[in-house]
């Protein structure tokens, strides 16, 4: 197996795409399956350079489509390789056939997503629908909100996914442009830290011509359910592993992340935003601004959506009066007729004796930034609902209503 160039801990100023590429390098991946689509392409460009100049010894395979990318990744992972791939937007959809087989055969492939709006008709901007549409395919999934977190999440996800108790693929997502193309300070670790944190990938039954085994043969109807049950178990049983790994990460690298939700200025808050990803950065600024003006507003950022931390979400959100879910995704005809986060928030809260009022905002759609005045508009809606004790409607389209 290749060894990345030995490096000491250092600070660099890079964007999310390059941070992901750096993470793949530090994880010493064996196989990279690439196919270009904006905005994630920059990650593959950076990796291509690393492989070309000898910084990273990996098989860099340019596929002929995203479907092939994932097929290559499936095969490579089955043979025991640590695999890195990625995509954006419609590219994520094109590979759809492979998501269930990869998790079904329990191959810990890692896929980097830099979100992009799905067509029509070809908007470059970020929207989480691309990755979220695959959320029930058996992949571990969560969003980063900046380049440093993206870098860290890649290492953390490999460690979780490759744990023999888990063996599941991972989607490590970041907002297109807001993370992928915005430069920030990133601490690149000492190689020794990474080696301590992330042991080499070892599949117990790799495809090996000397020791033939079958992966994914045709099966009988009665053999399907136990496999599904096993996959469901793996997803549930990954939860303690996720917590343990975040703990170890904090010990080795000195950055502690709550694996499930990040709370920001929730002390004494009556109303909270609930969101994923990059808009948390602007949300935090807005909340600070509102708090300075006496508004009791806080933020809950969901860090891991699969497996969904139901208990944790209930426990955290039960403290508040009103929860405003910022979707940044499309759930056409869904429960709220807005996005897909709302229904899972509500479901998590259903058994809570103290239920906050929950409604959602369609904001940050199409890759538009959510600006300060829109946060104010949303916060006022939540405060109104708190005052009234009743929601006006389940979904508001921000920027399209008064």
């Amino acid at each position: 197996m290749a060894t990345a160039t030995e490096a000491k801990k250092r600070m660099v100023r890079i964007n999310g795409c390059v941070a992901s590429a750096q993470a793949a390098k530090y994880a010493d991946v064996d196989v990279i399956a690439a196919y270009p689509i904006r905005p994630y392409t920059a990650t593959m460009m950076a990796l291509a350079q690393m492989v070309a100049n000898g910084e990273l010894d990996a098989e860099y395979i340019v596929a002929d489509s995203e479907h092939s990318q994932l097929s290559i990744s499936h095969g490579a992972s089955s043979s025991g390789a640590r695999v890195f791939t990625g995509s954006s937007g419609v590219g994520v959809q094109f590979a759809y056939e492979l998501y269930s087989p990869i998790s079904g055969s329990r191959m810990p492939v890692q896929m980097m997503i830099a979100d992009r709006t799905l067509d029509p008709p070809g908007d470059f901007g970020s929207e989480h629908t691309d990755a979220l549409s695959t959320r029930d395919m058996g992949w571990l999934m969560g969003w980063s909100c900046d380049a440093q977190e993206a870098f860290d999440n890649h290492l953390i996800a490999y460690r979780i996914g490759e744990d023999p108790r888990v063996l599941l693929p991972q989607m490590v997502c970041q907002d297109g442009f807001f993370v992928s193309h915005i430069t920030g300070d990133v601490e690149l670790p000492d190689m020794g830290q990474v080696k301590e944190f992330l042991p080499p990938y070892k599949h117990p039954y790799p495809l090996d011509p000397r020791h033939p085994v079958s992966h994914g043969p045709q099966i009988m109807p009665e053999q399907g359910p136990p496999l599904q049950l096993e996959r469901a178990r793996a997803m549930e049983e990954s939860m303690p592993v996720i917590e343990q790994v975040h703990d170890e990460f904090a010990k080795i690298f000195g950055r502690r992340y709550d694996p499930w939700v990040e709370e920001y200025m929730t002390d004494g808050a009556d109303v909270v935003f609930f969101l994923q990803g990059a808009h948390a950065v602007t949300a935090k600024f807005a909340i600070q601004h509102m708090r300075d003006r006496g508004m009791k507003v806080g933020l809950i950022r969901l860090r891991t959506i699969r497996p969904y931390p139901t208990e944790r979400v209930r426990e955290v959100l039960s403290k508040f009066k009103v929860v405003g879910v910022i979707e940044t995704n499309m759930g056409l005809g869904s429960v709220s007729s807005g996005g897909v986060l709302y229904s899972e928030v509500c479901a998590a809260l259903y058994e809570s004796p103290q239920k906050p009022l929950v409604f959602s905002f369609m904001a940050g759609m199409g890759g538009e930034a959510i600006v300060l005045k829109e946060f104010y508009w949303m916060a006022e809606k939540m405060l109104e609902v708190q005052k009234r004790g009743k929601i006006e409607k389940r979904t508001h389209w921000v920027g399209f209503e008064h």
Binding site: G104, H215, Q218, E222, L227
Partner: protein, 610 residues
């Protein structure tokens, strides 16, 4: 935790997360580690090519053609020598039943097998030392009576088996019919001499001028040798039983040819010669007559047309080219002349039953024809001279009585060649006598080693049907013709009429071979396998291996096998195999596993031969 408290029954447990066992098997991964999609398994099963099957001595023709194709001439020569002691002879004289059987004949033109055989035979002639060695001596002595094709072949095989062989030959020179029955312009004497030398090199003793019954008796053979092969041939010419047949100027086919061959001929032919008979010896006599100075040679046959003549068509054609006339449907009823033949009396005649094998009906009522000639050569077959043989071993048709293994009763005497084949329906040809000699040698060896002689019971699969091959791989390609001397000049000389192939011609012709039903290492299966699960460690004939652990039974290699060697064999035919998915859905959980177990226990299926 939705999965809390769930349990997976033992029979559905997976060996490891995500790794599915092959269905319907308790230990699927052990039995067939890459899944059980396959219902048929590709198996290399070489068939018998029709040429090998048709050859009187079952030469491995496809095998040596393939070796010639690859430039491995010495290996090809060694392969031919397993069944044929003198390819240089048969490469010239054989009536090549192999070429009649050749599947390529149905496609464009049959392979010119004889020409390639001659190429190899001549190569062997040029070797200072032959590739064939005598077997380690077993201390046993065998006498072979007769040095014609059958005796030669038997002696050769027996020497290879380790016997001390002595050949008794009546004539002053060894060779039998090869020498006495085949003219020089077909088989030059020095070629045959070299092949006789090869026998001596194998340690065989050849005693010429020794006649059985006169110089060596039955009892002596019995006493002095552990066993004996009688290959005395047919030496007494048949008569046409015509009035005045004893007149001067009347000759008989074989003695005529034999005396020329031995260099003892005193025959001087006149200008007009009639040859009586329609077989190959008659053709040789007619053509030899031209070379002995005859000007007008006419062949008179009972057969009504050339197609009925029991002759090799090319030889007939070459004879016609040389100017021999044919006269059909007539029998000689009298030889006219005053002490010396002047003319023949001919009557219309035909065979009373099957052509060439039934009494002749002569229409004596018809007006006889007078046909003026200076000489007559009668070539209507030969018979054996068996006065020395105990009566119990004589048949009614004047041949030696043998069992199906060529053995005379329970003695250690065996017989082979024309002396047993006459009237059997098998053409009396060199290659058949060679095959006979070979089989008798092996049978004799078994008897002397105390083994039981048993008829062959394994059926052979001869591939006659082009549909069993993939003909898209074989472009049409004409046969490489052998050059012939021009008819005008050749009929005056003893020079070989048919010319040898060059090396390039031999390779080109051998390359036309389909290798019917036989793996010739063409690599097609190796290239088309999508899995891929065909290994090619050693690139020589047949040495591919199918990794059945990986094969999905997609049939691509079978369909794309040009020669039809690869076959799809049902998986259930293998007793070690995995039971396949039989039905799509089970009506109760786990039913498939139980069904499969029951299927496996179905009766006692005999494992089939792979």
């Amino acid at each position: 935790m939705s999965t809390k408290g769930t349990q997976i029954p033992d029979w559905l447990k997976v060996p490891f997360a995500g790794i599915t066992p092959a269905p319907t098997q308790e230990k699927g991964q052990d039995l067939f580690p890459t899944g059980n999609w396959r219902s048929i398994r590709p198996v290399y099963r070489d068939k018998l090519p029709p040429c090998n099957n048709a050859c009187g001595t079952n030469e491995k023709i496809q095998g040596y053609l393939d070796l010639v194709k690859r430039g491995k001439y010495l290996d090809a020569y060694a392969l031919i020598k397993e069944d044929m002691p003198f390819p240089s002879v048969t490469g010239r004289v054989c009536y090549h039943p192999c070429e009649q059987a050749c599947n390529r004949g149905k496609y464009d033109e049959a392979i010119s097998i004889r020409a390639v055989e001659r190429f190899l035979g001549d190569l062997g002639q040029a070797l200072a030392k032959d590739v064939v060695k005598a077997g380690p001596s077993n201390g046993k002595k065998v006498a072979v009576v007769g040095s014609g094709p059958a005796g030669h072949s038997a002696a050769y095989q027996l020497a290879r088996l380790g016997y001390q062989v002595t050949i008794f030959e009546k004539s002053p020179k060894a060779g039998g019919l090869n020498r006495g029955g085949i003219p020089d312009w077909v088989l030059p004497q020095d070629i045959l001499d070299r092949e006789i030398e090869r026998l001596v090199e194998l340690g065989i003793t050849i005693k010429t001028n020794v006649e059985v019954g006169k110089d060596v008796t039955w009892d002596q053979l019995k006493k002095d040798y552990d066993a004996c092969v009688l290959a005395v041939g047919l030496i007494d010419p048949n008569s046409v039983r015509a009035e005045g047949e004893g007149k001067e100027g009347v000759h008989y086919g074989l003695p005529f040819l034999r005396d020329i061959g031995m260099g003892t001929s005193k025959v001087k032919l006149g200008a007009r010669v009639a040859v009586i008979g329609g077989g190959n010896t008659a053709i040789d006599c007619a053509r030899e007559a031209l070379r002995q100075g005859a000007v007008e040679v006419t062949m008179i046959t009972v057969e009504a047309n050339p197609q009925e003549m029991p002759a090799v068509p090319e030889d007939l054609h070459d004879m016609m080219e040389e100017g021999v006339e044919l006269m059909h449907g007539r029998a000689v009823t009298a030889v006219l002349g005053n002490g010396r033949v002047e003319a023949l009396q001919l009557h219309p005649a035909k065979f009373s039953g099957a052509i060439n094998a039934s009494p002749i009906t002569v229409d004596k009522q018809a007006k006889p024809e007078r046909f003026a000639v200076d000489n007559v050569i009668i070539a209507v077959g030969q018979r054996a001279s068996l006065k020395w043989l105990p009566d119990e071993f004589k048949t009614e048709r004047g041949t030696i009585k043998i069992d199906r293994f060529g053995r005379l009763g329970d003695t250690n005497f065996f017989a082979a060649g024309d002396v047993v084949q006459l009237g059997s329906g098998q053409p009396l040809m060199v290659v058949n006598a060679v095959g006979d000699g070979k089989r008798v040698a092996f049978n004799l060896d078994k008897v002397l080693r105390g083994q039981k002689l048993e008829p062959r019971t394994i059926p052979v699969d001869v591939i006659f049907d082009l549909n069993r091959m993939n003909m898209t791989y074989f472009p049409h390609f004409p046969r490489v013709k052998q050059e012939l001397l021009p008819p005008k000049s050749r009929k005056k000389t003893q020079e070989e009429v048919i010319q040898a192939y060059t090396e390039e011609q031999a390779v080109e012709e051998a390359s036309r071979c389909f290798s019917c039903g036989t793996c010739n290492a063409c690599d097609n299966c190796y290239l088309v396998c999508p899995e891929p699960c065909i290994v090619r460690d050693v690139r020589s004939n047949g040495l591919y291996k199918i990794l059945v652990d990986y094969c999905k039974g997609c049939r691509v290699c079978i369909e794309e096998c040009p020669t039809g060697c690869l076959e799809g064999v049902p998986e259930l035919d293998f007793d070690t195999g995995v039971v396949r998915m039989d039905t799509a859905f089970a009506i109760s959980p786990g039913l498939h596993g139980r069904q499969a177990q029951e299927l496996k226990n179905l009766g006692d299926r005999a494992p089939k031969d792979i």
